[in-house]
Amino acid sequence: MPTEPLVGEVRTPDSPALADAAADWSAAYIHLPFCARVCPYCDFAVVAGRDYLVDRYAEALEREIDREAPWRPLDSVYFGGGTPSRMPVSAFIRLVGRMERQLGLGPDPEVSLEANPEDWSPALADGLVEAGLNRVSFGAQSFSAPTLHALGRLHDPDQIVRAVQVARRAGFRSINLDLIFGTPGEPMAAWQETVERALELEPDHISCYALTVEPGTEMGRDVAAGGTAPDPDLQADEYEYAQERLERAGLVRYEVSNWARPGHHVRYNLAVWAQAEYMAFGAGAHRFRGSVRSRNFRRIDSYLEAIEGGVSPTAGSEVVEGWDREVERLFLGIRRAAGVIAGPGGEGLRTSQAGDRLRQAGVIAFSERRLVVLRPLLTDAVARALLALDTP
């Protein structure tokens, strides 16, 4: 159970105590896959042009929630997508209500949704607050019009400004902006401008993501055909710039890509990185319950068919136990600025040659029984070293 209130948090987001406490939180994720169009870099479970399924899908989600065995009251609920802001307010009222009745909500839960600026309106914002939502994460991505165009986004920079103002007025207690850096063709100056304009809006939370080209996406095909890929060195420069600038503005980096003002960390994310259990609903959703990670059908039709046919929508699962679980705890935990309790896995790394090399290169440090990554841009090198450890 979280012991911290949602807002007015005294601990800073990168506090080790907070990071460790999150292992005992309860969280739920609901996937809402509908989009106006699919962004060229997106490899999530999304659909465009199938909004006629919205009602059926919301109903299926309710049925899936009903199938779930009772659990602890939820500390956080996260509506991700896709584009959750394309869903009608009525759907949120039904889904939040269903979760409250079926699963129970904690005394002061975090209820968060992702939203696109172009969908946002005072009526929607008011309705969502009424439905119990208290945090919104805007897919702002950039304040540069050419970059937004290259990313296939449908909004313009001014719509981001208006959306944040509307959300504040409606009473959202925590507002996030997602930003993307490293879009091919975007100069450093444009990224700096994006960071500045984001800070002017005084968001509570900022996520900075490196544009990542995934196979199977439109961008992946372009790059495979000889198109320009993101430059990892430029991305490193941009990341370092953001880190320096955001810290100066009072935002604290608490995970590789996430910065928050004190008290505005995302509970759902902290729970996932702490290897906490969480439930999940919807097409392509992933959960971790007991020692089992499982995932739902990714295709919306398969998901609907399963639910409507009264069978489990689970497409696959794996048991994570023993050493595997220990290693996973570490490779998730090291993404946080607070690091992770070293434990047997951390000890294994500390005494390995690979661990030595990482320490000598200034990538990791061991202090007070914690393993901390000092150079977050090299986190995956540490993760691979952990996975390569021999099972003791």
């Binding site: 994720y29 490193a236 590789v256 959703a285 992933h286 971790f288 995932r295 490779f331 000598q360 290169a361």
Partner: protein, 601 residues
């Protein structure tokens, strides 16, 4: 014993694919040695690899019976010779067992360098040469031009050149008659003490070492005590026989006769090609001339890609040397490549054959270091030492000079490529010693070139600059003092032994630059900057840097899909396993192979 006046001993000298084996088959067929039904195509080439590459590695001898036009029965021994100069010592011993040689040239392709080299050896050995064109049935055949080439090379008249098609059999009967008529009968005194020349040997799993020999004087009988004069080994002859081509035991072999000898010796190294067999009861006063130890010319380190295969490699080498006494090897340890062997080869082809046999017949995955030669190093104290590996080169202040082996390289090519060839040879420190037109269109160029330059992709470069038309042959031409230096390659300030090379001072910069550039492209970015340097002693001559990897993290939102992330990391981790640590630098196994590739770029 057959009267020596009715014996003819000859061999066939021909370029690869000019039809030597096919002609041998026809001769066997025609003389009834092999019935057409039993005939496996190209009987003389017995090893699979040999059949595939179209070359002959081990010489063999076949005894043919032929009734000539004069009504007499003749024994014609066809002694097969290896076609390639790598085996020139074996060729010279085969030639020493003959009185004549058939010089076979493809009627379309003309005379090639290695044919010529072997023809000169035969002439110097005093053999009667019968020039002949083969493949006259080919539409592209140009008998007139090739006849002119043969006459130009050998002298004589065009009427002495025979025209054959081994494929159709045309002219083959006439050839047998010419052999009887033109090749002298062997001399030799049946009453003299036994002297027989060992011109080849091979290892048979059941019988042990089988030697091929030619009796010069006296008589070799089954069951007698014999002695090998060079090695001093004494044995009793278990079996003496002739090959028809089936092995047929005989009671004795007299002067001029060619056959085989089995003594029960199991180790091929104990019987030396070129040795003289004599009788223990009545030893000859002295051995036949020309004996020499085969000397490796080209060296290369071989390392198993998987370190666990070291024992398998050792076993494979032991087995290979059962059949190939000229292959030498000794264990070698490389910091970069682990445990392996340094092998000495007679030449480049020999090296290629051995490597291929190891990989194919023994299923080994090997990394080979760049071929190098043996250098003679004179130390300050006047001592001379031979080094076969750059790692063994004494420090500059401990040595006074380095000598490197030279070869005489003969190149035959269409004359339009003279410029391109001269240019190439010049970049290889070659020195022209001769040029002569063997026909209006084709020229023979002779150079003195350091062997070290020839072993490094010279043949490939020659072929590519002459559209494949040039042929090359070379023979040892002694040692010369050269201004040589050792170039070391350092990775993050640690020397990588496998990349060190001894090169001419003028070429050190080029070698250093090539290696540092190649390695820069092959070594993945690490967590820190990795300098790659080429150095002569302490002096850096070239430098590249693999810049540190700055971003190695999935910095995107991945929505709780931990399993997928884990799988991605697991896959990347598997890639890391194929890395070798050189100091603190991770180097992919493939980088060693690619950097050492002779024909890269």
């Amino acid at each position: 014993m057959f009267p020596s006046a009715r014996i003819r001993n000859f061999c066939i000298i021909a370029h690869i694919d000019h039809g030597k084996s096919t002609l041998a088959d026809r001769l066997l067929e025609l003389t009834g040695a092999v019935s057409a039904r039993d005939m496996r195509e190209q009987v003389l080439d017995s090893m699979d690899l040999e059949r595939e590459r179209g070359i002959t590695i081990k010489a063999q001898a076949v005894r043919l019976q032929y009734r000539a036009v004069d009504g007499h029965d003749y024994v014609i021994n066809l002694i097969d010779t290896p076609g390639h100069v790598d085996f020139s010592y074996e060729v010279s011993r085969s030639l020493a067992a003959c009185e004549g040689a058939l010089l076979l040239a493809d009627a379309a392709q003309g005379v090639q360098a290695q044919t010529l080299a072997n023809a000169y050896m035969a002439i110097n050995a005093g053999l009667e040469i019968i020039p002949a064109l083969n493949k006259i049935d080919l539409p592209a055949a140009d008998p007139q031009r090739v006849t002119a080439e043969l006459v130009g090379v050998l002298g004589g008249g065009p009427d002495e050149v025979l025209a054959l098609s081994a494929k159709t059999g045309e002219g083959v009967e006439g050839l047998l008659e010419e052999i009887v008529r033109r090749i002298p009968a062997p001399a030799g005194d049946p009453e003299a003490a036994l002297r027989a020349l060992v011109f080849d040997s091979y290892y048979d799993t059941y019988r042990g070492v089988v030697c091929y020999l030619r009796v010069m004087d006296g008589t070799l009988s089954a069951g007698e005590r014999i002695q090998f004069m060079a090695t001093g080994e004494g044995h009793t002859t278990e079996e003496v026989g002739v090959l028809t081509p089936k092995a047929v035991p005989v009671s004795s072999l007299g002067p001029g006769e060619v056959g085989y000898l089995i003594t029960g010796v199991k180790e091929i190294g104990r019987i030396k090609v070129g040795d003289t067999v004599t009788s223990s009861r009545r030893p000859a006063a002295g051995p036949l001339p020309g004996y020499a130890e085969p000397k490796p010319m080209v060296f290369s380190g071989l390392f198993p890609t998987d370190g666990d295969d070291f024992e398998r490699l050792r076993e494979a080498l032991e087995k290979l040397t059962l059949n190939d006494a000229s292959l030498q090897y000794e264990p070698e340890t490389s910091r970069a490549l682990g445990f392996g062997f340094r092998l000495g080869f007679l030449g480049l082809l020999h090296m290629e054959i051995v490597r291929e046999r190891l990989e194919r017949e023994y299923d080994l995955d090997l990394v080979a270091t760049a071929p190098s030669v043996a250098f003679r190093v004179k130390l300050i104290d006047g001592q001379v030492t031979e080094i076969k590996s750059p790692q063994d080169l004494p420090d500059p202040d401990a040595r006074s000079q380095i000598e490197e082996p030279y070869v005489k390289a003969m190149i035959i090519a269409p004359s339009e490529y003279i410029g391109a060839i001269m240019e190439l040879v010049q970049t290889r420190r070659g020195e022209q010693v001769g040029m002569h037109y063997i026909s209006p269109e084709r020229v023979e160029l002779t150079y003195l070139v350091p062997l070290g330059e020839v072993v490094f992709d010279f043949f490939d470069m020659l072929k590519s600059r002459t559209k494949g038309y040039a042929s090359l042959d070379y023979e040892p031409a002694g040692y010369r003092v050269s201004d040589l230096v050792k170039v070391d390659i350092l990775l993050n300030n640690t020397p990588v032994d496998a990349f060190s090379s001894i090169v001419h001072r003028d070429k050190a910069n080029g070698y250093g630059r090539m290696m540092t550039e190649r390695l820069k492209a092959l070594i993945p970015r690490q967590m820190f900057d990795v300098p790659i340097q080429a150095a002569i002693g302490g002096r850096i001559i070239s430098r590249e840097t693999v810049k540190a990897r700055r971003k190695d993290v999935l910095a995107k939102c991945y929505g709780g899909d931990i399993s997928r992330k884990r799988k991605l990391l697991e896959r990347q981790k598997e890639g890391k396993k194929r890395m070798k640590m050189v100091g603190s630098v991770e180097v992919p196994q493939e980088a060693f192979v690619a950097a050492l590739r002779v024909d890269a770029d």
